[in-house]
Each structure stands twice: as structure tokens, then as C-alpha cells.
């Protein structure tokens, strides 16, 4: 009798569990799910979701995760077939998923829209094996921020135009206490934290010196390219700014936070700090400009994009593409730039009034003559290469023995290049 009761109980649990699972799957198929790695974009998505619901009656659920967590969730969910209906990611993350066959191509009408709505660089970055898979949402060029008030105090009127001016200005803008310790840096370089970001900021200056992290060979393979003269000059610039002239420090606040607090006079970032400063540091008077190159008139920056993709596993693919196109309407694209500070690389939307109201944004769109846009290569191990190079660069930035030490600088970059080439080799890309 008791055994029968236990068996009945187990059967009941099984039935309830199965029903829940079916209900969950059923509920999922009626709702469009969207995953993004930038929580700053939520206000725009929320507005679009509300409007879309009014228009179509369809529910859209948008979830934002910290970037690295988002990338990990994607890595687990896409192969398992549990991915959302839409995910937004960058052109250096998506190639591995396209290669593995997890990403669907857009319908022909959407491909036609993409080809007619974006600039050539954005299209090139999002083309894989001559096909476009996602709809670009954001196109980000890194820019230099400079504190106008601190510049004026130092007798400077404009942002630096080349590396010589960058160094001289940084020296004038740095403030020391009576013990000779830096209390305000002339420039806050990205010296540590989140490996690939360190490499990306290094890549910005490298572009300005005419170099690149990787180079593509004639047979379609890749090689480390940063251990050349441009790379050595870039690492020397870092070492000089940090150790030789002591215009940057590991001991002060860093990056955006430092700039908002007035603890640094210059730093390099994407465009999102512009609305961030409006709320956190409204009194700060700052300007933005293109990155100064090694020589005036020859410079560059890093440019990357974020695009919306639909996985092959999506059960709501038609609805997902429909929402993506809805989100790409002028209203939301303008919100992305004006309210959030993420530039949209659309050629058929007029943003000029926004640039007039907020001239700081326009630096991200400027493409002066000789300005190179350095990008991430569309290869699967890009993140590993960038992260591991970043770890080596972090160690090098701390090494004061590299001051006026070209042999040491060469060794650092040659050793790093060996590791990069090994990663490429392991992935059949060398």
C-alpha cells in the first residue's frame, strides 16, 4: 500500500514537471526574446518594445547582461539551441557562430535594406564569406576626450594634433603633490583591466602610427603585425608617458571615472561617456576630437560595430526580423545617438541636428584625410589574441626598465607575437 503511494507521488511529480516544461516552451514561442550586452541601450529598447506591442500586439522581452556574461551565455545557448530570438553582438564575436552554422541569413528584403543603408566600412565589417548576416545597430569609433577647463589652466587652447603635442600637453597638464607623486594625470591610458580592452586602446595608437595588430597574408591567413616599427613606437609612447615623463599613473583613478572627477585631463573612449558626463559631471567642460597620430595628418582609431542577429534555432524568426526592422526606424536610431551616445552608422538618417546640439558626438563621425579605421579581424580566436596580448601589454606598461630601452621593447613585442602566431596556428589561420 505504501509502495503504491510512493509510486503515485513520483508519477504526479513527473506529470507536473512535464506540464511546466510544455507550458514554458509554449510561452516562449509567443514572445520574442532579445539579448544585449550593453545595459545602456535598455531605455531605447524599452521604448521600442512598448511601441511594437501597441502596433502588433506582440510581446518582446529584452534582457541586458554584463558584456562578458552575455558572451558566455551566447556561447552556451547557441550550440544548445536555447538562444534568444535576437542577439546583438560585434563583428569579432559573430564569426565563430557563423562558421559553426548557428546564425541565419536575413530575408532578401532586409539584405537589400542593409546594403542601401550603411557606409562601406560598416558593410565590409559585417560581411562574412560574401554574405551579410546581421543588421548593424551601432558603429563605434574611439575618440579623445580633453578637459577644456584644465587645458585653459595650463595655457593650452586646443587638443593635441600629434604624438609630440600629446606628450608635451600631458606634461603640462600633470599635477604632482609635494612628494612628487602624481595627483592629476595629463592623460589616462588604458593600462589594465579586461585584457582585450587594453589591446584595443593600444591598437588605437598603433593605427595612428600606421600599424595594426594582425595582417592578412595573400593566401588569406593571418600574422601578428604589431611587432614592427609602428608597434615599437606605440609601446615606447606608453612607456614614456607612464614612466619617463610620469604623466600617467597606476595609483590614481582611471579612465572615464577619473575624467569625470577631474583627475585626468585626457582619455580615450567610445562616445557613451558624453551623456554619462551630463548626469555624473554636468559642470565639466570638455571637448572631443579624433585621435592624434604619430605625425599630424596621419592618424587613426579603432572602429567596431554591433549588429542584431537571428539564430537558426529561433522559432520566431519571422517576428524577430520584423522587430529588428521596427527597431531600425528613425525614431529609435536617433534615440540611440542622442539619449544613449551610441552612434548609428546609417547613411539614410539625418543626425545633423543632434550633432549641432551636441557637437561632442561629431568627433566619432569625423573621417579626416589620412584617418585610418582599424578594425577587429573576422576570425574566431580574435578575442583570445586580444586578451592574451593585453595581459602581456599590462605587464610591459608596468616595466620602467623599458624606458629608453628599444631592445627591451622589441623583445616584449616579439615574444607576444610568437604567442599570437601560435594561437593563429592552433586555429588553422597562420
Amino acid at each position: 500500500m505504501r509502495n503504491k503511494k510512493v509510486a503515485m507521488l513520483l508519477l504526479l511529480v513527473l506529470v507536473v514537471f512535464s506540464t511546466m516544461n510544455v507550458a514554458q516552451v509554449s510561452a516562449k514561442s509567443k514572445k520574442i526574446s532579445v539579448w544585449i550586452g550593453w545595459s545602456q541601450l535598455m531605455p531605447v529598447y524599452q521604448e521600442a518594445v512598448a511601441d511594437y506591442k501597441k502596433k502588433t500586439g506582440a510581446d518582446v522581452e529584452v534582457l541586458a547582461f554584463p558584456l562578458r556574461e552575455f558572451e558566455r551565455k551566447l556561447a552556451v545557448s547557441l550550440p544548445a539551441g536555447n538562444a534568444p530570438d535576437i542577439f546583438v553582438t560585434s563583428e569579432y564575436i559573430i564569426p565563430q557562430y557563423i562558421e559553426a552554422g548557428f546564425v541565419s541569413e536575413p530575408p532578401k528584403a532586409i539584405t537589400k535594406f542593409i546594403n542601401s543603408s550603411f557606409d562601406p566600412m560598416t558593410l565590409e565589417l559585417n560581411t562574412f564569406n560574401k554574405k551579410i548576416y546581421g543588421v548593424p545597430q551601432i558603429g563605434i569609433a574611439r575618440i579623445l576626450y580633453w578637459n577644456k577647463g584644465l587645458f585653459k589652466q595650463a595655457g593650452l587652447t586646443d587638443a593635441p594634433k600629434d604624438w609630440n603635442e600629446l606628450v608635451e600637453y600631458a606634461k603640462k597638464l600633470t599635477v604632482y603633490d609635494d612628494k612628487g607623486k602624481v595627483v592629476r594625470t595629463g592623460i589616462s591610458l588604458r593600462k589594465f583591466g579586461g585584457g582585450s580592452g587594453v589591446t584595443e586602446k593600444f591598437q588605437i595608437f598603433l593605427a595612428g602610427a600606421g600599424g595594426n595588430i594582425l595582417t592578412k597574408t595573400s593566401n588569406g591567413k593571418w600574422r601578428a603585425a604589431y611587432n614592427d616599427e609602428a608597434g615599437r613606437a606605440t609601446l615606447k609612447l606608453y612607456i614614456d608617458l607612464i614612466h619617463k615623463y610620469k604623466t600617467d599613473s597606476f595609483d590614481t583613478k582611471q579612465d572615464t571615472e577619473a575624467f569625470a572627477l577631474g583627475h585626468t585631463a585626457m582619455f580615450i573612449r567610445e562616445v557613451w561617456p558624453i551623456p554619462y558626463f551630463k548626469t555624473t559631471a554636468p559642470n565639466i567642460s570638455f571637448g572631443t576630437t579624433t585621435i592624434p597620430g604619430k605625425v599630424a595628418g596621419k592618424s587613426g582609431t579603432v572602429y567596431s560595430t554591433e549588429s542584431a542577429f537571428v539564430p537558426k534555432s529561433s522559432k520566431n524568426a519571422k517576428a524577430a526580423w520584423d522587430f529588428i526592422m521596427f527597431f531600425n526606424e528613425k525614431k529609435y536610431m536617433r534615440m540611440m545617438l542622442e539619449d544613449i551616445g551610441w552612434p548609428v552608422p546609417r547613411t539614410n538618417i539625418d543626425f545633423s541636428d543632434i550633432y549641432k546640439r551636441e557637437p561632442a558626438y561629431s568627433a566619432a563621425m569625423e573621417r579626416p584625410k589620412g584617418y585610418v579605421l582599424s578594425t577587429y579581424p573576422p576570425i574566431a580566436p580574435a578575442d583570445e589574441i586580444w586578451t592574451k596580448l593585453g595581459e602581456r601589454l599590462e605587464a610591459a606598461f608596468r616595466d620602467s626598465s623599458l624606458v629608453d630601452n628599444p631592445t627591451g621593447i622589441k623583445k616584449v613585442l616579439d615574444d607576444a607575437a610568437k604567442e599570437t602566431n601560435k594561437i593563429l596556428q592552433d586555429n588553422g589561420l597562420y
Binding site: R72, P79, Q96, G101, G193, G194
Partner: protein, 305 residues
């Protein structure tokens, strides 16, 4: 009692007792199944994965035998993480176990004020590691942290607790000792309070001093608990991850190489680079290290009943 096992009579015909046994086994089946699914199968799966070039995303996953293990042998990043982890483990285990024992000896007698101290030392144990790490990260902040505020108000120089690569690991060690001290102290207190008072009374009568009492009575009778605490402390220390991840990653944090630990290395390979096969091999190596050290501890501290 003859003919019994587990206190139950297994003689044929003792229907009520065998029913109880059957019922007990039936109730435990779901737990065993859960353990099998959540522990045993994943562990065996890890051994299996380590023999493949298994990328989370790539569809091709060729069998490569022991190649992952051979690659580990030449992986400088892994051995740096190993070195940092061993330094961390030695310092945390030795200092926390010794300090815990000293505190337990001091609080052995039950008093009201002793109870307050026990509570105060145990409090860090119950707070989750993540919020604790965030709080300590702020305390260690070079510019705004309270520790540097106190140091500078005493005329000393501010320290880059998490930004100086020579100090970052020490900072994590200090925080980790603070976090676990109370737990080991409570365990030692349990062990100490279970030692019969007659032994101490007899020792006093024989004229033994404190050190002789500790060496001849307290420590031998506490060996089992010391073994347990040492093994637990070592396993936990070798698996350090959360505080390293929370306190040192990000643009205001320390260069990771100076605090790179084994579990973080595994995490990077598995969940950043998606090299699951290689990460699994690293897990196996970590498992072997933990097992070896635990066996050594058992050998050294084992008591004979």
C-alpha cells in the same frame, strides 16, 4: 546484535524491519540519482572532455588523447596561476588554521563575553563572498579606501593594495584569512570542548605547565579536528576564485597576472576562449593536486584509534 546490519534485523520473517529498510532505500534513491546527475556524471564527463579538442562552439571535436595535458606542461600562464595558487594556499591555510586554534584556545571557556567574540569572528563566515569582496575592494581603494585613509592620517604612505602587483596577492590573502577564520575557530572550539576535563585536571595535579598540557593532551586529542580543518582549508584555498575575480578584474583593478589563480585560469580557458577540452584537462590537473595534498595531510595528521 547478531543477524543485524545497520541496527535492523534482516532475519527473514521480520516484516516490519525489512519494510523500514526498503522504505529508507526508496526515499534515498532520488538523492542518489540527483548526486549521480549533478556530481558523478559531470566529473566523469570532465575526464572524457579532457581527451578532446572540444571547443564550445565549433562542431568538430577531434579526439586528441593526452595532448591537452602535454600543452599544459608548456603553458606559462597555467604555471604562473599554479605558483600564485600555491603561495595563496600556504599562507591562508597556515595562518588561518594557526590563528583559529589560538583564538579557540583563548575562547575555550564558555563565558558571556566569549560568546560575543565567537559571534564577531563568525560573522564574516555567514556573509556571502561577493558582497564581502566588493566591500574589501572599496576598503583597499588607493584613493578613497578607509585603510589608506587610516594609514595617511598616521603619516604613512598610501598603499596600492590591489594595484601594486607586489602586494595584490597579499591583499587577497589577508581578506581571505579574515573571511574563513571564524569558521575554523568554531570547529576547533567544538574539538576543544569535547576533550574531557579530567585529563586537564590530572595534568594540573601532575604539575604540567600550559605548553606541556597543550603538547601532550590538547594537540593529540585535537588531531582529528586539525586534520579536518587543514583538509577543508586547503581544498577551499586551492579553489580560490570569487574574491580574485570580483576584486581584481575591471579597469580599476590589479594586473591580473599578479593574482592569476588556477580556477580563474580554468574559467578563462573554458568560458572566455571556449576551449572546454583544455579547461577540462586543467581541472583534472587541479583535482590531482588537491587529491595529492589531501592525501599527504591525511598521512601526516592521521590518528590511530
Amino acid at each position: 546484535m547478531p543477524g543485524t546490519k545497520f541496527g535492523y534485523s534482516l532475519k527473514k520473517g521480520s516484516g516490519i524491519e525489512s519494510n523500514k529498510l526498503r522504505y529508507a532505500l526508496l526515499v534515498m534513491i532520488p538523492i542518489f540519482l540527483l548526486y549521480l546527475v549533478l556530481r558523478i556524471i559531470p566529473i566523469l564527463g570532465t575526464f572524457y572532455l579532457s581527451l578532446f579538442d572540444w571547443n564550445l562552439i565549433k562542431p568538430r571535436r577531434p579526439f586528441i588523447g593526452l595532448k591537452n595535458f602535454i600543452n599544459i606542461a608548456g603553458d606559462k600562464s597555467f604555471w604562473l596561476a599554479f605558483s600564485n595558487t600555491m603561495i595563496f594556499t600556504v599562507f591562508v591555510v597556515v595562518i588561518s588554521v594557526l590563528l583559529a586554534l589560538i583564538l579557540a584556545l583563548a575562547l575555550k571557556k564558555k563565558t558571556r563575553i566569549g560568546g560575543l567574540y565567537e559571534f564577531a569572528y563568525f560573522l564574516p563566515v555567514v556573509i556571502p563572498m561577493v558582497p564581502v569582496s566588493i566591500i574589501w575592494k572599496w576598503m583597499y581603494d588607493k584613493t578613497y579606501g578607509i585603510i589608506n585613509y587610516l594609514l595617511t592620517s598616521l603619516g604613512l604612505t598610501a598603499v596600492g593594495w590591489l594595484t601594486d602587483p607586489n602586494i595584490a596577492l597579499i591583499s587577497i590573502i589577508i581578506m581571505s584569512i579574515w573571511k574563513v577564520l571564524g569558521y575554523y575557530m568554531v570547529l576547533f572550539l567544538v574539538g576543544l570542548r569535547n576533550i574531557p576535563e579530567q585529563y586537564y585536571e590530572a595534568a594540573v595535579v601532575d604539575g604540567a605547565n600550559s605548553w606541556q598540557v597543550f603538547r601532550s593532551i590538547t594537540f593529540p586529542l585535537l588531531k582529528r579536528m586539525t586534520l579536518y580543518v587543514s583538509v577543508i582549508a586547503t581544498i577551499q584555498a586551492l579553489n580560490v576564485f570569487t574574491q580574485v575575480y570580483v576584486m581584481t578584474t575591471g579597469s580599476q583593478g590589479a594586473p591580473l597576472a599578479s593574482v592569476r589563480v588556477l580556477v580563474y585560469e580554468i574559467y578563462q580557458n573554458g568560458f572566455r576562449y571556449f576551449k572546454m577540452g583544455y579547461a577540462s584537462a586543467q581541472v583534472i590537473v587541479l583535482f590531482a593536486i588537491v587529491l595529492t595534498i589531501s592525501l599527504i595531510q591525511f598521512k601526516l595528521l592521521r590518528t590511530e584509534d
